[in-house]
Structures are given as structure tokens and as C-alpha cells.
């Protein structure tokens, strides 16, 4: 079992790095999903407000 420490260190580092990278991606994805949802809601609100403020097109006389 010579050099077991080196083997243990190498595999621990590999799995730790992969684990933290997956966590990093997932956290970023969750944050962006929230941001995207908020942005879509705000855009919808502004567009609705624009629609309500725009006067309806007047009918031309026949």
C-alpha cells in the first residue's frame, strides 16, 4: 500500500472539483431562471401599460 496517500489525494481532488463545478452550474442556473422569470414579468407589465396608454385607432368615415 505504498503511496496510497497520493492515490487518495488524486481521486479526492478529481471528485471534489467535479462536484463543486456541478454545484456552481446548478446555482447559476437557478439564479438565472429567477432573473429570467422576473425580466419576462417586467417586460409583460411594460407592454401591457403601453397597450393601455395607446389610443385605439379611429374609424375613418365611409
Amino acid at each position: 500500500m505504498d503511496n496510497f496517500g497520493y492515490l487518495f489525494a488524486a481521486y479526492t481532488i478529481i471528485f471534489a472539483v467535479i462536484f463543486f463545478y456541478v454545484i456552481f452550474i446548478w446555482r447559476r442556473q437557478t439564479r438565472l431562471e429567477t432573473e429570467l422569470h422576473a425580466m419576462e414579468t417586467r417586460l409583460k407589465d411594460v407592454r401591457d401599460e403601453l397597450k393601455s396608454r395607446t389610443p385605439p385607432p379611429s374609424r375613418s368615415a365611409p
Binding site: D2, Q29, L32, E35, R42
Partner: protein, 235 residues
Amino acid sequence: MNRRLNLALGALTALMMFAAIYMVFMFVPTEADQGIVQRIFYFHVPCAWVAFAAFGLVAICGIFYLWLGQDIWDDLGYAAAEIGMVFCTLVLVTGSIWAKPIWGTWWTWDSRLTTTLILWLLYGGYLMLRAMADDTPQVARFAAVVGIVAAVDVPVVVVSVRLWRTIHPAVLVTRQGGHGLEDPRMVATLLVALVAFTALFVWLLILRFATLRMRTRIMTLARDLNLAHAAAGDL
């Protein structure tokens, strides 16, 4: 991407990784010369494979981005570069840990080690460019060019053990022909680990690409929101 499909792919990747770990620690025989520490090899080589595949993908995406100008290629290239960087770092770190008991040093300016370090620095530059500059088409074009030019180092790393004098073993194909893995169980373990890491690469790429697409969508919506605000102010 469908969340359920994403989870299924993640679970499949985890299953393959467990199979690879089982084979590395329970199935494969201990190498006669180097002893137990040689088992680092079964994850060190797949890490290198993923890094090279990722950097190759960066170059392909760069070519398509310069040709077509679609931001989907830019996002895919960015995702691949980040994953390639993670695995290239793992190659350097695990290689260094392996080198210490075998060569008696953590690092030596061997041709393969040096060209791999250059590759790491080149893509480090690519990621710094992406992180520090604004997300403009001009920056994306610069990044595409850097990604293509940096990928030239990938084949140099691969053939470096044949081009120059080196102490790094040529495991897959030796100078005399054949390969350095004597036992078929060693070959089987390496192949399973390569498949597991390829699945991991695909899964991570899908995850990271999805977040970058979301970021691009948010930037588009922010522009639309500014235009809508401006229009609301004009009325």
C-alpha cells in the same frame, strides 16, 4: 432542455462513474513497477481526453461563429472552454501528484507537461477575455479567434512524446508499436473510464450551455425592456 431528461443523463453518468471507480479499485491488477499509484492513470487519461475534446469543440464552434455569426456557437464554445479548463487543471494536478512518487518531483519541464501547461494558459487567457470584456459581438469574434489558435496546441501535446525527448510515458501507443497496457483488464478499465468521462463531459456541456443560453436570453430581454421603457416615456 427537459429537466427529467437532464436528470436521467446525470444519473446515467453517475452510474458509469461508479462502474469506473469499481473497476479502478476492485478489478484492475496493480501495475508491477509503479504499484498502487499507477491507478491514477485510469482517471488522469480520461481527464486529458475530455480537455482535448472540449478545446477541439471550442475551435469548431469558433469557426462556425466566425462563419455564421450566430450566438449559439459562441455560447457552445464558451461552455466547452470552461469545461476544458476544469479538466485540463485536473490533468495537471493529478499528473503532478502521480509524478511525485514516480519521478521524485512534483513538476519537471518535460515536453508533454510544458505543452499541456501552455494549453492551460492559452485557454485561461480565453476565459479571462470572456470574463473581463463586455458581451459584444466583437469580443465574441476575438474569443473565437483565440479559441481556434489555442487549439493548435492540442495535437502538439498529443505528439510531443514522439517529437521530443521525454520522460512522460506513451501509454496508448509506444514508439515500438503496440501499447503500454499489458493486461486486458487494464485496457477494459481505461475504456470504461473513457466512456464515463465522455458522458460526464456531454452532461456538463448541456448544463453549462443551457445557463449560457439563458444569460443570452436575459440580455435580449433587457434590451427589449429598455426599448419598451423608452417607448412608454415617449407617449
